[in-house]
Symmetry: C4
Subunit: 435 residues, 4 copies
């Protein structure tokens, strides 16, 4: 140091050292730098290319605002950063100064982690939305080609319409208002006390609905088989959950329709008739098939990604609700056991506790005793509290995902890159830190 | 560079260059500036008017805090800004330094976009509140004149009172407590099993209510016709939704009243009587007409703007609810089909699923079987979750709009400008970026 | 400027001017300062006491970080501040530099206003909590003396216990389980179909409860009269709402008790008996009297302050609910008018709409028709949405108030001042700006 | 000062003094420093080791960004800090400069306190999660050894499974579907009108369930006794709430089982039979025992810590609900007392008010009169408002705890320290300040 050379070192504890970082001047004692071995500044001396004899300082062409935090780390042993600086920048500069990110102080680390979580979310979302980098490199992947196919608007509009129409016919078939008296009298294999069975035996769906239903069944059967045949990877095709749903929606219906036309008097064969009835129940998969909308509607895909990411929190809500319902249900059972008014067993009281905790409150099971009423009030309050505790955590996740997704969508539309590239970041370290 | 002139350039990789930006000193290597072509600093040389030979630096009369980020962009290739600086300032400075806003790094871009969204919201809100710049330029527009008219307090108070009174008479007319035995015996065109029909046939509304109703009908008819006649743009008048509502509220009522007095024995002509009955149903538009309050109540206008802006999110909530209700409704139908206890068809189970998911839970349809109860519990949990997911997103929007609107109102009252003018911003670029 | 003197002014548009603000150097063209008249720097020249000839700069002993924003205001005409700086500091510095706070740019003004709102809230809360400055100056005010009285723990514990006990006897008196057969047979002035009347006629409250009730009535009567007599400002005493409630709780009960003992056979005088019955209904004020807890429980006072401050938002929620309920109620009436199943008039359907929108859903009125069910579903969705929109706004207010109140409480306990004193702030300007 | 030496002090009010804090230059008048006695800078003079004659300034090897705020405190008397700087850093620097943290201005103190609350939360959480520093020092504590034991996976899996199975058998025992006709006919000590009693008398649980139940009872008895015997501190063992719950779950069941097998004809001894029946009711503790999951499931422990920390807010919610329910319940009673339709007393109307305020709305008690309906609507709106006010405050707490806990877990897994050590912080001051 120049001051040292001109001889007043006695006034100071150790040599003073001056830095010029991007034009801003920093000064410290040289002893301060010796506190942290294995860092860039530890071994700094005048042979360094950064040393400038004329001004007797060390010049670094870096951002001065981060260096302030770094120098403070040497001085005080804890590494802090203002939380308005981007964690990506902090990380890059720490890399340059040879300091491990692990040393960021716990109080500032949380902001740091927040940024890194955003990054992880961005990666997850851009994958779910089909903008992931993976597909860019290796030409047309299957997913991408499907995505493009979905962009042929008329076909995708038709698919969506057909899906909705299929759900509508499912409902219409079992709707009182859309059934006509049965053409062929049928055997009643079931008791006449159940009005739903009586309706099923004595009426038929409206012929127009039957016709639409058959045509749609044919179309979806053709579409499913075509896709299965075209797809080069049969194994992947039949293990994707959406295709299994479609399989269960398409084939049982096809068999049921064939059965209806080939054995018009099947009502005479009770076992066959029962089997036919079971096949009809697969109609539920025609409704679940609505998830195919996700291929065309990005919001649904975001929802699915979010729900998957919130699995822990959702398990927590379910756990709270189940424990709460069992505790209150059992307590309610023992409170109400003394009164003759209602016939209830424990599964029913647990059901009652669930219905009370979710504040649905049908009123089919209600407390009759004063102690039962107290339990009901506590159960309702606990429900409000538990829902109030767990739902905001999940909703917060969803809100964050939703906002990021809309930003990613906008950037994709403007043709901008979705993530900041980190120069020296290797995958393994990224994963270890959940960057 | 002065150092270069005195000959120790050999010690450095490239020339050092010094900036004085608003009094703060920045330093970098001149090679760094060559990384980004098409920017202001790329072509910097000593012939620049900013060069000061005496101090051998470049002086710029700009804000140093933004320049730090700009210089860092030259050094590291990514453009970051502390998120406590206003995006308007960042944008203005980037404009000055010749850098496109698109290059802001993805991690910082979201804060950037947030600011721009606030701006878009401010524009939308000030338009909805009648403070939009458009009306300032071209003198008195129709909207503005209406707004001023609404500031004549007595008239607007009267209108609001008349609207409320009109709704009250609508309700009172169909209220048991305010009906008196009918003066003229009437033919019963409908079955006597329906007590509502019997009431309608055997009683009349109280004469005072009838009188008020007729006077209000006359007033609103006069007011509507006057406004329609005065308005210079007939086409716009009759396409505004509020006027259509008013039309449907005013004319059917006028015809019904005339009918009542001109054909006192109309009960003898079933078809005419039925038509009269249908006309009465248009009373619902007298309630919807309450939206006119929005002309006088700014909160309602903000709500309408928000609901319009949240259309996507609301569609999402409805989508979730509809898909959920259909899935749970169909599943519930097949669970409960085996029990004789309740007569239900599929539209009813879907209605049940909606009522359960919104946690209303009337209890008119309740599960009888154990599997039905499980579906009911899942349905209630899904409903709590779906509402919990979508409502916060919409509420967040509303909260944001509501806060901004109150700020805008306050600034308007203090006579301050509502938005920061951006010097070089052209409309087209603004729209592309949703600024 | 020194550079100007040495003759290279030709290279520059206007003179350069250097500031040393608290040790930090700022530089701009002197022409820049001429843009804003009526500010401190506008008239700056070398005769200023801040001018230092040796260094040819202007020294100001102020915070440099705010000055940066001020100087930028001269350069670009808009006044921005980083949102991490306290608005109190910004205000103080703007005062020093002679700039009106009104000129803060709209984008940054909102943060500014947020801080000022916090200040207003702090004032409101400290007043509600009895820490307001007003009471410090003028010795012992009535409120303060009451507050101190409430700190005599045993008496206040007893008051709270008596209040609760009084509510308990109110409930116990009308509770089936705590009534014994009536000692004196009584005339039945009312129909025997109403079981509540029959109970009232044939049973008496348990004697112990009656005794406790009479003693409590005597105590509260004595306490009320004492306080009324002691209080020097009778007018203020009888206009405070809590005292009116107490009046209505104490006197009717005293009269009723006297009546019971003085006219044991009052059941023979129907009119007197009816009057006695009406007096009993004033028991509701004994429950409302629980608000007196607020004198001892700070959370309740905070709640009351918050609810008052949220009046606009609460009116908004009520407005939304009322309009929604009327619209859906009227629509529901016309949907259900065709079916004979339920007897309903319009007030009932509006009640139904309220019960559905708040998701309570008793099930006493349920839709019977398909169109009625659709209205019910829409009504439930609208209710979830409306509650979801308005409640967070109010809850947000409450959360903010609650947090501030806990900070104020803690500071009060630590003996620290509750608000930052603003040196030059006059009351009038404060109010105009809602500071 | 050098300027002073060269003689132009007359131009200035007081001497100028220059600081070099970590390389950044600060300047003020020396008189400014005399405003605050008892601080480090108050006694600053040229004999200080920080004085450097050559540059005539005072060098401090500290962070310049905090010093700016400190110097401003000398200038203006209020101490502010940008809210993006970590409170730990602020605290350390204030310590260095000899300023008490109490002097931080009220407006900035709240941010300060927020940080300190985070610290307190971190301490609480790390204790709850078993990572507290206390256990590190004194070797293996009981808690730690239990924690390690719980990490032997197979045993803990078995415990969890046994707990769940035990709850399942509790439910199955009282479930209609899983009971078989009783082997031994029994005396009916109770009325035959109560179907639950009839079921209890005429049927027995399925033998398999009984067998599992007995085996589980034996296991839990053995496990409890073993743990009680091993535990060195008997007193602590039997005062921990979880062990009391277990005691009440284990022993009554054991006695009941023994009774059943030793006195097969106990139905002949009504008193013994009744005692047996009471013992069965202790089954509820087998459900509450599920809280033992907390030992293995960190989320539950976090929930318990949060609920304890939110005790004030939860008491507030309960307080609001209770007062609201009593007010609305009493009002409802007096509204409905005139109608003969329903038999209700005041405890029932208060129960009704609770069920309405929590929006459960069973519909077993519904208003019959118009005034009762108005009370019901107000009650429902108040409930929505009160829940909306209190739940977010608690949920916010939970959200904060939950996030911090996940950060702590992650840091623990990465082997990083959980809290920043504060160099000079003594425990007592920490507590006084709730740091």
């Amino acid at each position: 140091m120049i001051r040292n050379q001109v001889g007043f070192s006695a006034e100071q504890k150790s040599e003073s050292i001056v830095f010029d970082v991007g034009g801003t001047r920093f000064e410290t004692y040289s002893g301060t730098l010796k506190k942290l071995p294995n860092t860039k500044l530890f071994n700094l001396n005048r042979d360094s290319p950064n040393y400038r004899p004329k001004t007797n300082d060390y010049f670094f062409d870096r951002d001065p605002s981060i260096f302030r935090g770094v120098l403070d780390y040497y001085r005080n042993g804890t590494l802090h950063f203002p939380n308005d600086i981007c964690a990506t920048v902090v990380r890059r500069e720490l890399d340059y100064w040879g300091i491990d990110e692990k040393h960021v102080a716990p109080c500032c680390w949380e902001f740091f982690k927040l940024y890194s979580e955003r990054r992880a979310t961005a990666e997850l979302l851009s994958k779910a939305m089909g903008f992931d980098r993976g597909t860019v490199g290796k030409g047309k992947t299957r997913r991408q080609s499907l995505f493009e196919k979905s962009r042929r608007p008329y076909y995708s509009y038709w698919i969506c319409f057909a899906l909705l129409l299929s759900v509508f016919t499912t409902i219409a078939t079992e709707s009182d208002a859309m059934r006509v008296p049965a053409a062929i009298p049928r055997l009643r294999f079931n008791d006449t006390n159940n009005p739903k069975m009586v309706r099923f035996e004595t009426t038929d769906p409206h012929p127009v609905i039957v016709a639409v239903d058959v045509l749609l069944a044919a179309f979806f059967l053709w579409e499913f088989i075509t896709r299965a045949v075209i797809c080069p990877q049969k194994w992947i095709f039949f293990t994707r959950s959406i295709n299994i749903v479609e399989l269960l929606a398409v084939f049982p219906q096809a068999i049921a329709i064939n059965l209806r036309y080939m054995v018009p008097d099947m009502a005479n064969y009770p076992k066959l008739y029962f089997a036919y009835w079971i096949l009809l129940m697969f109609d539920i998969f025609r409704v679940i098939r609505l998830l195919k909308f996700g291929k065309y509607y990005v919001g649904l895909r975001i929802l699915i990604v979010t729900l998957r990411a919130s699995a822990t929190e959702m398990f927590f809500l379910v756990y709270l609700m189940v424990v709460g319902a069992v505790v209150f249900g059992v307590a309610f059972y023992y409170c109400e056991v003394w009164t003759a008014a209602t016939v209830i067993d424990m599964p029913t009281t647990i059901y009652w506790a669930f219905i009370t905790m979710t504040t649905v409150g049908y009123g089919d099971v209600v407390p009759q005793t004063i102690q039962g009423k107290v339990i009901a009030v506590l159960c309702a309050l606990a429900g409000a509290l538990f829902t109030g505790l767990a739902v905001p955590v999940i909703a917060d996740n969803f809100d964050r995902y939703y906002r990021q997704a809309s930003v990613i969508l906008l950037r994709h539309r403007l043709g901008l890159p979705i993530m900041t590239m980190l120069p020296g970041a290797t995958k393994t370290r990224d994963q270890a830190w959940q960057w």
